[in-house]
Amino acid sequence: MSTTETAHSSTESDASGLDYEETQLTLAPPGASRSDPERKRGLSDDHLPSDSSQGPSGKPPQSKAQVVGWPPVRSSRRNALKSCTYVKVAVDGAPYLRKVDLEAYAGYQQLLTALEEMFSCFTARNYPNERRLVDPVSGAEYVPTYEDKDGDWMLVGDVPWKMFVASCKRLRLMKISEAANLAPRAPQGCTKEQ
């Protein structure tokens, strides 16, 4: 099971304009060069280019990076101290499940980005009214769906984000062919984020 968590509460850092690098203490006066020879690779991204340079990676950690399993606190503890919004994510055809914490995301875009990274064979493709994930190898398209509290399977993105977080019990990346059976989209066109 894998959980991705945002490194920053995005609303906060968006609002204040501060990000990690700017508040980082260094010995240089403010406004001095940000390059820090001690800085290492910050991300645990799936595939960083395997360059052999041992020295400083020129790339500072991105403030919106998601690091799995850090800080090292068990999910049972995380869950206990916040409302339990972990849901399982299944992908049609894949034999394993992941879990995501819906409260870690500010909106649908972030969630989809996270799903994309988690099952990182997919690349997101934005259609006008919905989002799909595509497996570049097979060309198969997947649509993110979720089961709500009533047990119905719905397309992700239909309802306001907060409502979605409150009602989503689990996620499933469904193959396009199967998604035809889902409840039709509400025609309001109100795909609000946040």
Binding site: S2, Y20, S44, P71, V73, R74, S76, P95, F119
Partner: protein, 637 residues
């Protein structure tokens, strides 16, 4: 782990020994395999059973093997008192005779990595085992670094146990996958079974618990600790009601991690008919009013997990009544729970504070002021777990009150990299000044200084476990801006008994040089986002001779570092490296050069395994070679 090694040094005697010693030849002897327990030569050394033995070889008396047999009788009677497995491992290496005696008398079989040895092999040797203690996944699995379905299943072990011996009494599993079917099989196959402890396991739900409750008539211990208990809403079973209606033998019942509501009247009735119950830890669905009723039923409890510690809706709980219940619980030495603590009721625990040896407030969202009155009474506390919401101020109170503290854990309320962090170097220094006998510390924070860590290293020289987690990655000393090398260096230098270390913050190769030079007793080392080059890994693998478990993530260590440990990997339980700079070729080389090492490359998806970079490496020694239950996203090199 004991090396399964025949004492083959005495080759010259081997033939002779076996011919005299074959179990078939010796009537009434203990023989090798088969259920133990039977023919222990009763009482003392005299139990040589020679006189009555009818048809041993008609040879004249005592050539050496004969007296060895006497010795073995004696030895078994002595060895049964040897409990510590390390002592037993040593004893088993003395000679073949001691090896056999030890194997016959070992009652608890501990396997630190369930894949290091097969169930069949382990149980063949230790045929008298009555208790099975197994560990599966390594610790990093707790942090979502292992995909689901990686392995460590209990099924093969319990099946093998059922074939080997029906006398199993106790099972303790950590980080294994246990299914409901496994639990049912366990309950049905072992009539003497009485003790089940599951820690950080998964794969089971309330149906499995129900079978255990119902069929294990002699159950004394059912401890479920931090497991991932999976229940689809429709499948929740009222397992508490399944305990037999008669008086039970229950001594310990812990189910904090079982998140579904329990049938409270069944629970209360169960407690009422369990006169031996001393340890009860309920889940957060038990309200404060309900807890009070349980306490009244069980005034002799020594360990209590309080559940929510909040009154239920419509529950009108008088604080005095609650305090009365604590007053009556004169035996309480260990308190935990407080999952949704209502601070206004916290003072009800005051009557027991002076006797408390262990207090776990790590789920209690309270402030320093709320903590203080309770803390000041806890003079005898040895173990204290708390949330960082109490701040440095709360830690100062701890330091003032708990002079005998051995273990402290400070958990983060907000476990994110950029959280505010309420505790800091100031709190650490305060603790080190007040709690000089500290042996173990786990401390999550956002701000730390080398000076504080150095101070702790000097004030608390008895430290055995030092785990500091500065949550923001690569954070330097927040006062000097330097790396945290010197602080951790001081720990390994001054804390000469240190066996477990977790490092964090901005760290260079230097800290690993310190660890290698001074951390000679370190057995477990956790590294994240640290170091500059392969030198770090090389230092540690060459210098830390006692290293058993090494877990590394997101550090720039590559093949050269990995290869520098070839001389040592057989002495270790495992090595984990993720998001480092390993290549498939490097890992393959290790696999080739070390045939008794299982080298697993784990991908998040099967196609990750085709890449030349290795995202996740898990290697461990094993007598069995590549396991046959590896899922598709694991490639064994």
């Amino acid at each position: 782990m004991a090396r399964v090694e025949e004492a083959g040094d005495r080759d010259e005697n081997k033939e002779e020994e076996t011919s005299w010693w074959s179990p078939e030849a010796v009537e009434g002897g203990r023989g090798g395999e088969g259920p133990s327990g039977g023919s222990r030569g009763g009482g003392g050394g005299g139990g040589d059973g020679d006189g009555g033995r009818p048809d041993t070889q008609p040879q004249p008396p005592p050539p050496p093997p004969y007296s060895d047999q006497v010795l073995e009788n004696v030895l078994e009677n002595v060895l049964q008192f040897l409990v510590c497995r390390r002592d037993r491992n040593a004893a088993s290496l003395v000679c073949r005779s001691w090896y056999r005696s030890e194997a016959q008398t070992r009652r608890e079989l501990f396997v630190g990595n369930c894949y290091a040895v097969s169930p069949a092999r382990a149980l063949r040797r230790f045929c008298g085992a009555r208790a099975l203690v197994l560990k599966g996944r390594p610790r990093f699995a707790d942090f979502n670094l292992f995909p689901l379905g990686w392995g460590a299943r209990f099924s093969p072990w319990i099946s093998a146990m059922a074939s080997a011996s029906p006398w199993l009494e106790r099972v303790c599993l950590k980080r294994m996958t246990v299914s409901d079917a496994d639990l049912a099989f366990l309950a049905r196959s072992f009539p003497s079974f009485c003790d089940l402890t599951l820690i950080c396991c998964d794969g089971f739900g309330t149906p499995g618990l129900a079978v255990i409750a119902e069929l294990c008539r002699n159950l004394r211990v059912l401890d479920l600790i931090e497991n991932d208990v999976e229940d689809e809403d429709e499948e929740v079973v009222d397992w508490i009601s399944r305990f037999p209606e008669t008086t039970t033998s229950l001594e310990s019942l812990s189910f904090e991690c079982v998140n579904c509501p329990v049938n409270f009247s069944a629970l209360e009735a169960l407690v009422a008919r369990s006169p031996s119950l001393r340890r009860l830890r309920v889940n957060q669905n038990v309200s404060l009013g309900q807890l009070r009723r349980l306490m009244v039923r069980a005034p002799h409890l020594t360990h209590l997990g309080t559940g929510s510690f909040r009154s239920g809706i419509d529950e009108d709980l008088n604080a005095t009544d609650l305090e009365q219940a604590f007053l009556a619980s004169k035996s309480l030495i260990c308190l935990s729970g407080f999952r949704e603590v209502a601070p206004e009721y916290l003072l009800a625990v005051l009557p027991v504070c002076a006797n408390l040896v262990s207090l776990n407030l790590s789920y209690a969202v309270i402030t320093a002021e709320q903590l203080k009155p309770v803390m000041l009474e806890c003079h005898n506390l040895r173990t204290f777990w708390v949330l960082d919401t109490v701040g440095d101020e709360g830690l100062r109170t701890v330091a003032k009150a708990c002079k005998n503290l051995h273990e402290l854990r400070v958990f983060p309320f907000e476990a994110t990299e950029d959280s505010e962090g309420s505790v800091s170097d100031a709190g650490l220094v305060a603790i080190s000044n007040g709690c000089r006998k500290l042996r173990s510390i786990l401390f999550f924070c956002q701000r730390m200084t080398n000076a504080a860590v150095v101070t702790m290293s000097k004030n608390c020289p008895d430290l055995v476990v030092f785990r500091l987690c500065i949550m923001g990655r690569h954070r330097p000393d927040h006062v000097t801006g330097e790396s945290m090398d010197e602080g951790f260096g001081a720990i390994v230098m001054n804390c000469k008994k240190l066996t477990r270390l977790a490092v964090s913050g901005l760290l260079t190769d230097k800290v690993f040089e310190y660890i290698a030079t001074y951390g000679k007793l370190v057995r477990t080392l956790s590294v994240a986002f640290a170091g500059n080059t392969d030198l770090s890994l090389k230092y540690v693998l060459e210098g830390c001779h006692r290293l058993q478990k090494l877990e590394i993530r997101d550090s720039p260590f590559g093949d050269a570092g990995l290869l520098s440990g070839i001389h040592h990997y057989y002495n270790m339980r495992f090595l984990w490296m993720s998001s480092c700079k390993l290549s498939l070729n490097g890992c393959k080389e290790v696999a080739q050069r070390m045939p008794n090492l299982v080298v697993e490359v784990i991908g998040d998806r099967p196609k990750d395994l085709d890449s030349d970079t290795v995202e996740k490496l898990y290697l461990y020694r094993s007598l069995e070679g590549p396991r046959d239950d590896a899922p598709p996203f694991v490639s064994i090199l």
